[in-house]
Structure formats: structure tokens, C-alpha cells
């Protein structure tokens, strides 16, 4: 597919690891809650216009996001969606071991076929690890994957690592996950960051990685990093 968008971003990962919720939050800033879970059929396309600074002059870019289906039967077709992608966000559910195994599969797959594609790792559902966030008052889950393993993997694959979560269980509270235009930074607001840090000491997960997606775009490399996240 020859995209009219300037940056093609693809989300990959097993089913029910939160890809669609991530996109939904990014594009429409809403979260439909876990009870509304519906698996994606095929793939959904969404786009967002943003501006970046190239050598002092603004430039508009379209980011096209492909939210793919996690179901196994669509796996053979995923090539179609990540072809010529500049960024692949590999998502995994922090409480689900299989989803982590799949991340390794996708990494190989993407690196083999798309040399220009940058890889981003995204651990979702971090709030499940926190006891106080459980609506039913149960204990927080234990992480299914050790933080050190994840960090090492991220380093090896030169992938930026992000953690996403949802604060509280009420649907009106914000997701910590943010992709902010114009720089659509993967990161967390400060308040959440503090909590995540305390979390990270327990679970050994690294939460400090902040990156910008548009590194995937060579043209924007120079100007874009000026106003990074704190």
C-alpha cells in the first residue's frame, strides 16, 4: 500500500494486550474500558495530522496508524500492514507471558523485512501490578516478565521501551499513556511517573525511557528533539 501518510506506524502484539485502546486514547483521547473489549478484525486505520519543526520551519506531517488484529489467524497477513512502516510499536501485556513471547517473534519479523522500521516496545496494563488500583480490592498481579529481561531485550533491539497504564479504575480518569502531538512523545505525566518509579523499584522495570516517534523520520531528527519531555 502506498500511503498518502508521511509516517506509517504499526501496532503489533497478541490479542487483548491493549493495542486498540492505545490508539483510541491517542487519536480520540478516550478509553472504552475493559468490559467493552472487542477483538479487532483485520486492521483498523487511523490518522493524525501534526506539525514538526524542521530546521526552524514548521512542517505538517500525517501519521497513519495501523492497529492490527492480534488473533493468530491474521498473522500471515500482517506483512501487509507493516510493509514500509517507519515505526512498529510492539505491545505486550505485562501480566501475560505469551504476549511477551510474541513480541520477540514480531521483532524478528519486522527486522527481517523492514530495515528502516524502528522498533518500540510497550508494556501495557502496568496498573495491574499495583494493588491499590484493583477495583475489586485484590492484590496486584505479579509481572509475568522480569523487568531486567525486558530492558535487556530493549537494549539489544535498540528499541525504546514504554510503559502504559491507567490510573484508577474509573473510566473518567486518564490513561497515563500519552502520545502528545506535535512531538507525540511516548511518556507519562509527572504524577504517574512518580508512581511508576516506585513501581519500577519493586518490579525492576525501567520506566524512564522517553523517546520520540519521529526519530523514525530522518528529516526531523535535527529539529525535533529540542523540546523533549522533562
Amino acid at each position: 500500500m502506498s500511503p498518502p501518510s508521511d509516517v506509517k506506524v504499526v501496532l503489533l502484539g497478541t490479542e487483548y494486550c491493549g493495542k486498540s485502546s492505545l490508539v483510541e486514547r491517542y487519536l480520540h483521547d478516550r478509553f472504552r474500558g475493559e468490559n467493552c473489549y472487542q477483538n479487532t478484525v483485520g486492521a483498523a486505520y487511523g490518522s493524525k495530522l501534526f506539525e514538526i519543526n524542521v530546521n526552524g520551519s514548521p512542517r505538517a506531517l500525517i501519521m497513519g496508524i495501523w492497529d492490527t488484529a492480534g488473533s493468530e489467524r491474521y498473522q500471515s497477513m500482517s506483512r501487509l500492514y507493516y510493509r514500509s512502516a517507519r515505526a512498529a510499536i510492539l505491545c505486550f501485556d505485562i501480566t501475560c507471558r505469551e504476549s511477551w513471547a510474541k513480541v520477540q517473534f514480531w521483532k524478528k519479523e519486522v527486522q527481517r523485512h523492514e530495515r528502516l522500521c524502528r522498533i518500540y516496545l510497550c508494556a501495557t496494563k502496568m496498573d495491574k501490578l499495583l494493588a491499590e488500583d484493583q477495583a475489586d480490592g485484590t492484590e496486584g498481579h505479579a509481572p509475568a516478565i522480569e523487568g531486567a529481561v525486558v530492558s535487556r531485550f530493549a537494549q539489544e533491539s535498540e528499541a525504546a521501551l514504554f510503559h502504559t497504564t491507567r490510573i484508577g479504575s474509573s473510566p473518567t480518569t486518564n490513561f497515563v499513556f500519552h502520545l502528545n502531538p506535535p512531538h507525540f512523545t511516548f511518556g507519562m505525566p509527572l504524577a504517574a511517573r512518580a508512581r511508576a518509579r516506585s513501581l519500577s523499584t519493586e518490579s525492576g522495570l525501567c520506566c524512564e525511557v522517553v523517546d520520540t516517534l519521529h526519530r523514525a523520520l530522518p528529516v526531523t531528527k535535527a529539529g525535533a528533539h529540542s523540546d523533549e519531555e522533562p
Binding site: P4, V23, Y74
Partner: protein, 592 residues
């Protein structure tokens, strides 16, 4: 294997043993409606231009076969009297020889699918304990005359239970309940649909966890394969007030059990839909390959996430008459507006290569349908697309691009569908289906153009208006005597119906009416004795069913309505349908 020449009323539709008829041909009325034209031409446009051809020989053939089949009824021993749980033991009655054979086959099949006979005997145990007389007294089809004989046979059979059978029973008395199958809610479900693989692995169950039903499914598999061993095909049974239909397609076995009014052929049509739904997710090629490679494959892995499609389809078939009528509803629109929409779509899509269909849907109704020359969409495929749109919330929020198989169009391959809603103000969904998988952005661009032009031409608003307006009751349409009606234009394979009057607001009442419609549809299209006009009344409603060359009509009146009122009203309805024809139906078949 000689059998008594008496008919076997327990089997609703005889199993033809002759080779004159393909097994699939007896699939039922609905299917017949689709399949009456020569191969490759049995699509929507045929309906749009031609009457439904009725094969005059068909019924005769079937009658002959009935006689033949009755002679050669090797499944004579399956005098079913209990629910499915009892099938295993019930299959083992009648003469010793047959009984022995059945027992052996069952044993073999169970071994093949690694089911301990204990498990199966456990299935039979509940009835043993609560063997109230209704379960044993055969509830038989009134079509046959030899009821008495059969009862005698049954008694005989009871006495001649083999030692192995008795062994099973004695074992069964000590084993605990088989869980879900003993739960009253599960047993009292009006209808069940099961899908399993040829090797007996559970794939889908409408109610309850498939894993818990593994042993029941093994029995189903055993029964199907036993009949195959005899060189025959198991199609349906009636037992314990239930209709049980079997459909063996490719590597799958589908079973439906109903306590409702569906006939065996109607159930077979429904099972065909379920089968097609699975194909539309996987394609026939993939399905066959999977099971060729690994006969014991757990297909649920491949269907993960799509169970909801099957569930909603099965549920819809319980209340939506479109499946029974094999027709689609059309959103009423003035012809000029529909033509304008059609024109917009055609013009915006001109440059897209290999665009096969563009379909606009609103509120589960067809707004417009444009096809590529030489290609037709079958109503059955259309129902699958409607089901997909109805059950997928995410289409409302983003454009989707997905591979889908349309089994009637091409069962072996995927086409690609671009699915999106027109706008937030107009909840109409546009599906563009192409054979190319790499042209998402071209299709997406065309969609943008369509919305733009429709906004400019002001054709979005009429769709929204019609969607609100379609909540009309018969009284709103000026037929106060009527509670509900269905009018199907047979040549167009489309139908119209208002929403039901207050008498059917309650789900229970609506179900009852749907049941009556099902029964009437079966009587009107019965291959043996098709009726033309039915008027039936009871304390709750009077219902009329009427089929002619051009239309099929069902109408429900209050129980105190007189025949004269009914006839007068019906004529008014027919006049109204004729007058509104151009807005109620799509009578042309536009192409790109």
C-alpha cells in the same frame, strides 16, 4: 440389514440411501431458494430480474426417495425418544444384531476420540434416574401412520437390551453428575448449536463451555460417523419433543437441537449459515488444510475472538425473519435519492481496480448495492456482512481493512473489505469489497469523496431520517387491525416489515410469533405438500400466510379479528406495498 417396512416417524426427514440425490440437495427450503438457478448464476441479480424458478420435478423426486428410503432404513434402530444425552443408549435398541453393531461402532468411535465409555454412560445417567414417562413415549411426527407399531417395536427393544448396554447402565449409576449438561438452565435452552471437528473436538457451543461438553460432542461425532460407515448421511432426528439436525460439511460437523418450531430443513439452513460464518473467517482452503495437516487440531485457536460473530448470528436467526425468508431488508428511500447515492458511489469508485461490490447499510438494512458486471452477491453472503457490521463496534470509530471470505462468492479465497461509517451524524456503513489487498488508500480516498459528494447533494440526511422513521408500527402505516406483517418480494429477494405492535413488545410474545412464522414458512414451502394459503387462529392471535409467484406474505391479527377483516386488510397491505415498491425495494441492479 433388513428393517421393518414401517416408516420411522422419529426421523423427521428420511435419509435417502439412493445415489439419485446429492446429500446437500435436501438442505431445505431456504437453501433451495438460493440454489435454484444454474450454478454460478444464483445471485442477487437473478432475484432482481427473474422469478424464482421452481423445479417441478424436485418434489416428485423427493417423494420417490422417501419411499425408497423407508424401505432401506438402516438407521431404523435410532428410534429417538430422549434428548441428545440419551442418543447413545437409544441408538442401541431394536434387534440384537443391529444393536451390537451400533454398540461396537460407538465403542470404536469413542476410542478414536479418546473418550472413556464411562463418560458417555454418565451422559445417559440423568435420564435413567428421572426416566419420566414422557421421555420414553415417543413424540412422533403426525405425518406417519404406524405410530402404534413403533411403540411396540420400542417396547421390544427395551427388553432386548444387550449385555454391553446393561453394563454401561450399571456403571452409570455410580458416577457423579456430568456438570453443565445436568444444569436445568442448560437443558431448558430453547435451542442449542454445536460445532465440532470430524474427530469430535469441540469447536463451538451456543450455551456453555465447549470443553465441558466434549463428551456430548464425542457422541455426536460417533453417531455421524456410524451412519457414514453405513454409506449414508445423518441429517435429522426428532426425539423427546426436540428436533435435531446434523450437517456434515468438509472437516466440520454442525448440530442444532431445538425445542422450538424450526423444522429440520430450517435448522439445516441455519447450520449452513454457521458453517459459512466459519468459512468467512478462515476460507475453505485454510480450513481444509488445517485439518489435513492435523486432524486433531483445536480450531478454537483460529477462531479466537470471532466466537461473537457466530454467537450473534445464531442469536439473530432466532428472531430475525431475514434468514427464514432468505431475503434482506431495504431502507425505505425515495427512488430519486437512492439513485443519486448509487450514482455518487459509482462515480467516486471509477478508478479503483477490481472493486467487486460497494454496499451501503444502515440499521441492518440495505441502502444501496453496486456490483461489478458479471459478479453477483448472494443474499447469504450479504447476511454475513450484515452480521459482521452489526457486531463490530469499532467500525464506528475507524476505517477497517480486513480480509473476508464470502463463501457463496468464492469459498476458497479472501476478498478485502474496506468498512467504515459515513459520518457521525449519519450512521450508515459503507463496505467496499475488492480483490486487491494493496489498495486501501485508494478505497479510503474514494470513501472520502463519496461522503463529500453526499454531503453536498444532501443525501446523508434522508438516510438518517429514514432510519428514525423505520420505527413505524402497522398502525402508523394505517393498518390498525394488523399487529405485524412480513412482505417479501420474491423476485428481488428483499422484504419489508414494520416493527411489531405492542402485543409483541414482550420478548416471549415476539418469540411465539416468530415460531408461528417459521412453522408457516415450512408449510408453505414443504417439499412434500406445499401450501399456498394458511389462516390459523388460536386464543392469542390469528395469523395468515400466503405465497404466490411474486410475493410471500405473513400477517398477524388479534385473535378476535374476523377472516373478512383479515382479507380486507391484506389487500390493503398488498396495495400499499405495490404503491411504495420503488422506495421499499431496490429493483434495479446497478453496476460499476
Amino acid at each position: 440389514m433388513a428393517t421393518p417396512s414401517g416408516a420411522w416417524p422419529a426421523l423427521a426427514s428420511p435419509i435417502p440411501t439412493s445415489t439419485d440425490m446429492e446429500p446437500t440437495e435436501a438442505i431445505g427450503v431456504g437453501e433451495r431458494l438460493f440454489a435454484t438457478t444454474p450454478s454460478g448464476r444464483n445471485y442477487l441479480s437473478d432475484f432482481m430480474h427473474s422469478q424464482e424458478p421452481i423445479d417441478p420435478d424436485h418434489d416428485e423426486d423427493e417423494a420417490d426417495l422417501t419411499a425408497e428410503a423407508a424401505e432401506d432404513y438402516r438407521l431404523s434402530t435410532t428410534h429417538m425418544t430422549g434428548s441428545l444425552h440419551e442418543l447413545q443408549e437409544d441408538a442401541v435398541i431394536k434387534d440384537d444384531k443391529t444393536q451390537q453393531e451400533v454398540a461396537e461402532v460407538m465403542q470404536r468411535s469413542m476410542e478414536a476420540c479418546q473418550i472413556n465409555p464411562d463418560t458417555v454412560s454418565r451422559l445417559s445417567s440423568p435420564r435413567k434416574r428421572s426416566s419420566a414417562s414422557p421421555a420414553l413415549s415417543p413424540e412422533l411426527d403426525t405425518d406417519d401412520e404406524d405410530d402404534d407399531d413403533d411403540d411396540d417395536d420400542f417396547e421390544d427393544a427395551q427388553e432386548s437390551l444387550s449385555p454391553s448396554q446393561k453394563r454401561l447402565e450399571s456403571q452409570s449409576s455410580s458416577v457423579p453428575d456430568p456438570g453443565i449438561m445436568n444444569s436445568p438452565t442448560w437443558r431448558q435452552q430453547r435451542k442449542h448449536v454445536f460445532v465440532l471437528s470430524e474427530s469430535g473436538k469441540p469447536i463451538f457451543s451456543q450455551h456453555g463451555d465447549e470443553d465441558e461438553l466434549a463428551s456430548l460432542m464425542a457422541v455426536m461425532q460417533a453417531m455421524v460417523s456410524y451412519v457414514i460407515d453405513m454409506g449414508d448421511v445423518l441429517k435429522s432426528m426428532s426425539a423427546g419433543g426436540k428436533q435435531i439436525a446434523f450437517l456434515h460439511k468438509g472437516p466440520l460437523i454442525l448440530v442444532a437441537v431445538t425445542q422450538g418450531n424450526e423444522s429440520a430443513s430450517q435448522l439445516a439452513v441455519q447450520l449452513t449459515y454457521v458453517y459459512h460464518q466459519i468459512l468467512s473467517i478462515l476460507t475453505l482452503g485454510q480450513l481444509t488444510r488445517i485439518f489435513e495437516r492435523k486432524p486433531g487440531f483445536d480450531l478454537r485457536k483460529m477462531l479466537a475472538g470471532s466466537e461473537r460473530l457466530i454467537q450473534s448470528l445464531v442469536r439473530a436467526m432466532d428472531s430475525d425473519p431475514s434468514f427464514m425468508l432468505s431475503a434482506v431488508r431495504v431502507l425505505p428511500l425515495a427512488q430519486a435519492i437512492r439513485d443519486d447515492i448509487t450514482k455518487t458511489v459509482i462515480q467516486s469508485c471509477q478508478k479503483i481496480k477490481n472493486l467487486v461490490f460497494a454496499i451501503m447499510i444502515a440499521d441492518n438494512k440495505l441502502v444501496a448495492l453496486i456490483r461489478m458486471k458479471k459478479y453477483y452477491i448472494h443474499p447469504a453472503d450479504l447476511h454475513l456482512l450484515l452480521n459482521l457490521v452489526n457486531t463490530t463496534e469499532s467500525f464506528k470509530h475507524s476505517e477497517a481493512w480486513l480480509p473476508i471470505c464470502l463463501p457463496k462468492f468464492d469459498p476458497s479465497g479472501f476478498v478485502h473489505a474496506h468498512i467504515s461509517y459515513l459520518s457521525d451524524d449519519c450512521q450508515a456503513c459503507l463496505l467496499m469489497i475488492t480483490a486487491e489487498r494493496d489498495i486501501f488508500f485508494e478505497v479510503s480516498e474514494a470513501k472520502g469523496k463519496i461522503v463529500e459528494v453526499m454531503t453536498k447533494n444532501n443525501t446523508l440526511l434522508p438516510i438518517s431520517e429514514s432510519m428514525t422513521k423505520s420505527k413505524e408500527t402497522p398502525a402508523d402505516l394505517d393498518f390498525p387491525e394488523l399487529r405485524h406483517f412480513l412482505y417479501k418480494s420474491r423476485s428481488a429477494a428483499q422484504f419489508t416489515s414494520p416493527i411489531a405492535a405492542t402485543a409483541y413488545q414482550d420478548e416471549k410474545d415476539a418469540d411465539r410469533l416468530h415460531g408461528i412464522y417459521l412453522e408457516m414458512q415450512h408449510q408453505l414451502h414443504s417439499p412434500h405438500r406445499p401450501l399456498k394459503l394458511i389462516y390459523r387462529g388460536d386464543s392469542q392471535e390469528n395469523v395468515l400466510g400466503w405465497v404466490t409467484q411474486t410475493f410471500e406474505l405473513y400477517a398477524a391479527f388479534s385473535p378476535d379479528a374476523t377472516k373478512a377483516t383479515a382479507i380486507k386488510t391484506i389487500n390493503a397491505v398488498l396495495k400499499w406495498c405495490k404503491k411504495e415498491e420503488t422506495s421499499l425495494f431496490i429493483l434495479n441492479a446497478p453496476t460499476f
